[in-house]
Symmetry: C3
Subunit: 307 residues, 3 copies
């Protein structure tokens, strides 16, 4: 069996995820061995919404596999502005390229694209629904440090309502046994109910407001941005803000193997003094994006292994 598109973590099996991340580890260990895997192939970047890390790490991955890319990093000045439908834009892209990376502000854009496209469509984040390749690189980073996909205690922290990395990370953790997720957020930004329904019965979880109480027992804290503008009353924001800023002091009591992740960009949620601590793995996490995306591109261009 081959998977044709990567739109959601929900359609993946834990076997697939494991094989993919093992392939990424090969890419990281011996990148030169894969330098021709995408030779003569073209990636189409269709970024209907700004992105830096996702777009550039996909491009870096494609180039490191010997391929190349075209497309747009913003819909400004494209036929989208003339009123072209997403379906027609996809039909154009699949005529010009061998694989599509799509970022879109509309929920469900990925599914529409996958239905129409003759070439694989990889979601680079759509709506506030999902960001599957981010979840895969998050899990890769966790696996590299903890050596396992299971028996992990993970706090996902910050804006759990709007952050599109949150559902995908929750889904990927629920594919493996004995994980536990602590959803840690201010009341206004609790994880959406449909995300909880999706993982219900598949992974243990708990919702809480105070990160500190779980810090000593978790293996990973995954921080996301809490944006002021999400709070109708600015006073509410000021009240919660500080409990969601990670400083060296916050990490005083963590396990020895504890690691701190963030999908980046950060804007104040982790103080700069934390960067030098051994727990800070968010820059390595960003770098891992290249290897994981190399493995993703290789899979969808070449189907090098069976699911």
């Amino acid at each position: 069996m081959q998977i044709r598109h990567l739109i959601s973590i929900k359609h993946l099996s834990n076997k697939f995820v494991e094989k993919l991340l093992k392939s990424a580890r090969e890419m990281e260990a011996h990148p030169e061995a894969f330098a021709d895997r995408a030779k003569g192939k073209i990636l189409a970047d269709l970024f209907f919404e700004p992105s830096t890390r996702t777009r550039l790490s996909f491009e870096s991955a494609m180039l490191r596999l010997g391929g190349n890319m075209l497309g747009f990093s913003s819909p400004k000045g494209t036929s989208v502005e003339k009123g072209e439908s997403l379906a027609d834009t996809i039909r154009m892209a699949h005529s010009y390229a061998d694989i599509i990376v799509l970022r879109h502000y509309i929920e469900g854009a990925g599914r529409v694209a996958a239905e129409i496209s003759n070439v694989p469509v990889i979601s680079g984040g759509t709506g506030s629904q999902e960001h599957p390749t981010q979840a895969l690189l998050d899990l890769y980073t966790i696996w590299k440090h903890h050596g396992r996909f299971s028996n992990l205690k993970i706090a996902i922290v910050g804006d759990l309502r709007y952050g599109r990395t949150v559902p995908s990370l929750s889904y990927v953790l629920s594919l493996f046994p004995n994980n536990k997720i602590y959803f840690c957020s201010p009341k206004q930004l609790r994880v959406r109910r449909e995300v909880l329904s999706e993982i219900e019965g598949k992974v243990e979880y708990e919702e809480l407001e105070d990160l500190e109480e779980v810090l000593p027992k978790i293996d990973v804290a995954y921080i996301t941005r809490v944006q002021k503008e999400r709070f109708p009353d600015p006073q509410d924001y000021l009240k919660v803000r500080d409990s969601y800023v990670i400083t060296p002091k916050t990490l005083g009591n963590v396990k020895e193997s504890f690691i701190l992740l963030h999908p980046l960009p950060r804007v104040g949620e982790i103080s700069y003094e934390v960067d030098k601590l051994p727990q800070a793995k968010y820059f390595e996490q960003a770098k891992n994006g290249v290897y994981v995306r190399m493995a993703i591109l290789d899979y969808f261009l070449n189907y090098p292994w069976e699911v």
Copy 2:
């Protein structure tokens, strides 16, 4: 003899066009045989006006020939905004690249560029004058389906006054014997007089308002966008709009070999139900742009055959 630049269809012979499109057919049949034709070569994209299909299909063509590209997809943030002349921008581009694709909002920009440039300049559409590479891919699509360049009855439909694909398509059809063009548009958007003077005596044509009357006898209908903002009185627009929207019903009475083309993007001129009909060839037409532009780039970079 070598042709140095591709600015207008007017300077081409039917021999040249035929050879070029035969070369495109080779590219389509055996793309891998041409994978190194532009190795080490650089295409400069100079897009002073938005474009998606033209830019990306040129880039796809260049990459498929083993070359690469640089440039800009909008003049925002370039030295053009600091007041640099087109001539100076061209002198820069020919120092950095081996071939230039220019799209510009000003009539005559292509000619100016060709006079100055040391490397071939290919027009990607200038002013509302011409769009020669579009006409070549249009003709390629017609040729693939009808097997001939001559004895064709073609309706060009919609905004014939401002659409820059209209003059180029008319000129290329007038290079071959026994073609007939039906210019079908609302009164306000009739084809410009200088276009008619150009083809006068070279190709038979007729101007009309009602597409339906010619539909049963034509081989190709070429639809273009009718933009509301072209009509001083919105009532006039509403009156004509519907006669220029193609639905499955419109096509009830066409010849068996009839095909429907559109340069795209479309915004309502062809209903989505038409997409599945065998006559709908506009997506294939867009794809053909890659092969035709491969042949164009190969010709102007390598002069692989004599005119």
Copy 3:
């Protein structure tokens, strides 16, 4: 010894500059011999401020060395707009690429980047401080025509206060013996005092307002833009403007070996009639940018020679 980053001319020795420019001459003479020097390597363009010539000539250089590039040509739509720090953007870029070219509007941005980056950072112009690669291609052009780095009389003309090419060119000239700089500008736009302190005792210089008096004795005139908006009183601008516009008449009395340079884009400082004169070397200067930047990229990617 290896130089790790190229942020300022101040940290370079004349030996280094000479070797680099000799390497550029090799690149110009036999570009094909270097076609694989950056094979598999990636350049990150981080352009926080518009640029055409610098960005595109770096890209052309990278492609001609067999490498490739990714990045952004404007901070619009990047995580910078979400408030990401320069340090974090650099940490991202060095994970995705092998070398970084940075243009930034803030003074000192280059130094910050160099402190953080694991891969070489090349300044593509920062603040109004420096533009080291421009100075190197300026000197390359002078050397090609005069055959020497020393015993040169050079007038730097126009806006010496804000132009970022002025300090770098002054510094590079001060590395070699017996050069003399004539800083020629309206009073309001005199060269900044810290630039003079830097070169004090290293190179002879003179400040003046009237270019004409030195024209007969100089080897090179380096023209920069005088922008109207720099003058609080528009009358002051009108008074000086004409003495800073080069026409064929201006050049009536120059030495036979005299050459005229301009970093471009120009907006009226050199009349178009000058372009055909043998002294006009600014287009060649722009083209030289490719060879000099090839040599720079080769040095910082491969360290092919010792300093």
